[in-house]
Point group: C2
Chain length 316, copies 2
């Protein structure tokens, strides 16, 4: 397996946040409290993706790194590449959040903007890979190194269970790299705690795949507000872990995702991106299932364009 | 002096946040990095005021607590009163941030809304005090118990200096309770580190008072966006500490306060209220003074109405 010591040393520990005001709100609607938040919004580059990116870059035998990413993985890989002295190119849709494009460039990577209506990311990556020398094409989620990197979060959560008394974990799911990594890390540390995936209803290929027992893909990129979960399907490496490892997948409609962003803003002073609020959204959607549970909610990231965020917090 | 052990046990430790993206920005304009943030936005009730309120309520011999507060102190006192089994009334201007009014009520306190054009807060507090039995009228800042409560933050910062290598502290100043408390706590722990106060230019009575060597009051409540610093003057208890204890006062115009809120949003994923962003604003305003220093910036709180916050982050 991969040596994770360099990854553990490079990442920041997740930030544990409890909010009495959020707990009062959740308690009033019948949920058990306290609810614990594990926030990756203060992680390097503002999301858990740095864990994955650093592991993938560190264990790459190649000098150039190439990926397609709508933002967080690209930004994380750009920083990892800089820290490890490698070159990095990130293919991004030309409608990506501006703040994410700028951040990738800020860490010294080359940004390759494409019109996804004209060329698929996959096709563009293949074209670039054919041109570049000594290049490693990295998936943001379907990769054993990515899962191993994310498993460092699972390790951290396992070490926190006794102190914070949570009895299940809810984490966002897009391609499945985060949930698979959390499960891998928890089990490595000997924890059998249940892990639930929170997936956008508009991008519920994961729920359908788990039910079917085989990977089912969306026919096109789902238009959910949770842009970190706009994946076509679960990764194969991830599905192998998730199909038996997940307790369940909870589907969250976009309105509830936005409500969760607002609650984190108003009651916990926590800036979360829509994808990052998925776990709280799942708790709200499935409150009957969780009404006697003590969940830990993984807030996967905080990078969200100000125009989108302003609209969400100002609604209602 | 006051027994602070109960206060230390009731408060949450401050949250230390370092942001590589913020450091890249600050470095590019000539400042030394890393810059360390000590964030009280995840403190009980979302601001440092809980430290003050819990100390004041714990050491009050009275069963009823009464205060005038535009929000954060009222909310903090309401929670402290609930935790200590006391009654609490908070006089608030009827144009206070809605989220703050609701939060005070949510913690079980009575909110007394007044039209500050028709009656001053002081007059209303005096009228209520005459009616209530066994009542303690509390100042949000000019009170030895308040300073002592805030000194717990100074103690925490002293303990962090070696690990985080900062060589000065910048903290917001309104009535002076926070800065006086930080100085008191630092000196108690044996630290002689310099402390700078960040004050809104529109409410610069503190800077004028320090220069004059005597307390100078604003003629009316200043209209700065930093609503936590809309005080008429420094408190007497605070001035006694601040007049020799502060290294300097840095005046920050409202435009720079808003820019600091945006930078914390965009580069550190940190939701700060305008008053909470004052220290970063001071660093930007006085960058020549600080260009070779390693400051710790105190982010005093995060409670800000969504309409105000949305406007600020969406400007530019």
């Amino acid at each position: 397996m991969f040596d994770l010591a360099p990854v553990r040393a490079a990442v920041k520990p997740t930030t544990i946040i409890c909010s009495r005001r959020l707990d009062e709100y959740l308690s009033a609607i019948g949920l058990a409290v306290p609810v614990v938040l594990a926030s990756e919004t203060f992680q390097e580059t503002g999301s858990f993706k740095f864990r994955a990116a650093y592991a993938a870059a560190f264990h790459s035998p190649h000098r150039q790194l190439l990926t397609a990413s709508s933002g967080n993985f690209g930004q994380a890989l750009a920083l990892a590449a800089r820290l490890l002295g490698k070159d990095c190119t990130v293919v991004m849709p030309d409608n990506s959040a501006r703040v994410k494009v700028e951040a990738v460039r800020g860490f010294g990577a080359t940004v390759d903007l494409i019109d996804t209506g004209a060329i698929s990311r996959k096709a563009r990556v293949e074209a670039l890979a054919a041109k570049l020398h000594d290049v490693d094409v990295l998936s943001a989620y379907d990769c054993a190194r990515v899962i191993a990197g994310n498993s460092t979060l699972g390790e951290e959560l396992a070490a926190l269970i006794d102190r914070h008394k949570f009895d299940c974990v809810i984490a966002p799911m897009g391609g499945g790299g985060l949930t698979a990594g959390i499960i891998q890390g928890l089990r490595r540390m000997g924890s059998q705690i249940e892990v639930f995936a929170a997936e956008p209803l508009l991008a519920n290929d994961g729920a359908r795949s788990i039910t079917a027992g085989t990977i089912i893909a969306n026919s096109e990129e789902p238009a959910t507000i949770a842009d970190g979960a706009r994946t076509l399907s679960l990764g194969k490496n991830n599905f192998a872990i998730l199909k038996d490892g997940l307790a369940a997948v909870i589907e969250v409609d976009d309105a509830m995702i936005e409500e969760a962003v607002r609650l984190l803003y108003g009651l916990a002073n926590l800036k979360a991106e829509p994808t990052g609020a998925l776990a709280l959204g799942a708790l709200l959607v499935a409150r009957e299932r969780f009404h006697e549970r003590r969940p830990l909610l993984v807030v996967s990231g905080g990078n969200v364009d100000s125009a989108v965020y302003a609209r969400i917090i100002n609604a209602n």
